[in-house]
Point group: C2
Chain length 235, copies 2
């Protein structure tokens, strides 16, 4: 809704927003990432440039670039006819994603362990409490957000500007699908290995942290195997 005749968006009405240089495109991209990671986007559903633009109150232009950036990392799919949609999942694609996670994330956690201390263990404990709470409450959306926060609080400590984007790309790819899995199987069946990870962080046991993360990923694989037994839907 272009209220102002000026072509640029108003600087959010605050005197000093403190934001270094937040472009509309970045805000849109972050919004889309958050939506994908929390499972607000349903796999197979098609999204439109103008639709997203109107939903976010911006012009289609920043959305176009944000969508392009996301689709470059396979977080969104651009079909041959040009339409945009949340990627669908196939069993082998999911298997590849989990294989890649198993290759990267434990190693990333291993590196991160050196930079994690008891303060981080406490913070992780707090996040994990919210994870457990949303698990028992069955709030899949909150669970996904907090589970992401848990893992990436660890990974961020590695300070890797190369591995982190790769892992983020993987999460963006499988997150929308997980949402549907939780909706079918329920979140109660989850038995993550966060407690062991926290203990490893507190005792500065890098190898233990790596193994805990690996076990956590394998747990997700088991859940999906169980889910596929109950009939895996791709569309």
């Amino acid at each position: 809704m272009p209220v102002s005749p000026s072509q640029h968006a108003a600087p959010s009405s605050d005197v000093v927003t403190q934001a270094p240089r937040r472009s509309v495109r970045d805000e849109v991209e972050q919004s889309l990432r958050a939506g994908l990671l929390s499972g607000r986007f349903v796999p197979g559903h098609s999204v439109t440039l103008r639709g997203l633009a109107q939903e976010l109150g911006v012009s289609p232009m920043p959305v176009r670039e944000a969508v392009r950036a996301l689709s470059a990392g396979n977080a969104l799919e651009i079909r041959s006819n040009g339409r945009i949609q949340v990627p669908t999942m196939t069993p082998q694609r999911l298997s590849e994603i989990l294989t890649a996670r198993l290759l990267l994330e434990p190693e990333l956690a291993f590196v991160a362990a050196a930079n994690l201390g008891s303060a981080d263990a406490t913070a992780l404990r707090k996040i994990d409490d919210r994870v457990d709470e949303s698990l028992s409450g069955g709030d899949a959306e909150t669970y996904m957000r907090e589970n992401f926060a848990f893992h990436f609080h660890i990974y961020r400590a590695a300070g890797s500007q190369v591995l982190m984007p790769l892992v983020e790309s993987l999460w963006l790819q499988f997150a929308p699908f997980m949402r549907t899995v939780y909706g079918r199987v329920g979140t109660a069946a989850l038995d993550d290995h966060h407690k062991e990870a926290i203990a490893a962080v507190r005792s500065r046991d890098a190898g233990g942290l790596r193994d805990a993360i690996a076990a956590d990923i394998r747990c997700g694989m088991d859940l999906l195997d169980r889910s596929s037994e109950e009939g895996l839907r791709d569309e």
Copy 2:
């Protein structure tokens, strides 16, 4: 040079171009990827939207999206002032890239081995001949293109739509820097392990192929260590 008054580019004058649906943006992106992988872009050099657009004979719009897509994978860097430049390399960033390659590529080759046969071994032999030729000739640009072709002929056989983009992203990140390394150290110092890889492909030895690829990557790491002894420039 908008000769035609029509807004869309002419369909390349051919009756049936056979192209399914080549958008200008995709062509631009492929062109940029090829440029990065062959080392035509110098790290630290800044590129401009309008400059690339004029160079490729298109409007800035498709370039904008292509650059956005590449910067999403850290193949191009967008500075805080908004300017675009080929990313610079730091020792730890390079170390991270090679670590990631060592985590992903040998495993990808291991998977690919099942789908590779003697025909592929012959094709790889041909590519490797051109690699050796460009090595002795000191043609760094051709070397980089053929070396890329060699590795990705193998990786492509894995049929992975998840690991492949990750590995491609890594190559796009380190390729521009390698160009400068070859320019300083020379390509003659390279002793890749392509012959062992070809032998492993021919004998369908998955483990051997994985080890050959790992050795090849480690060889690159050694070259860089040697290069940094002679003074590593970051800017």
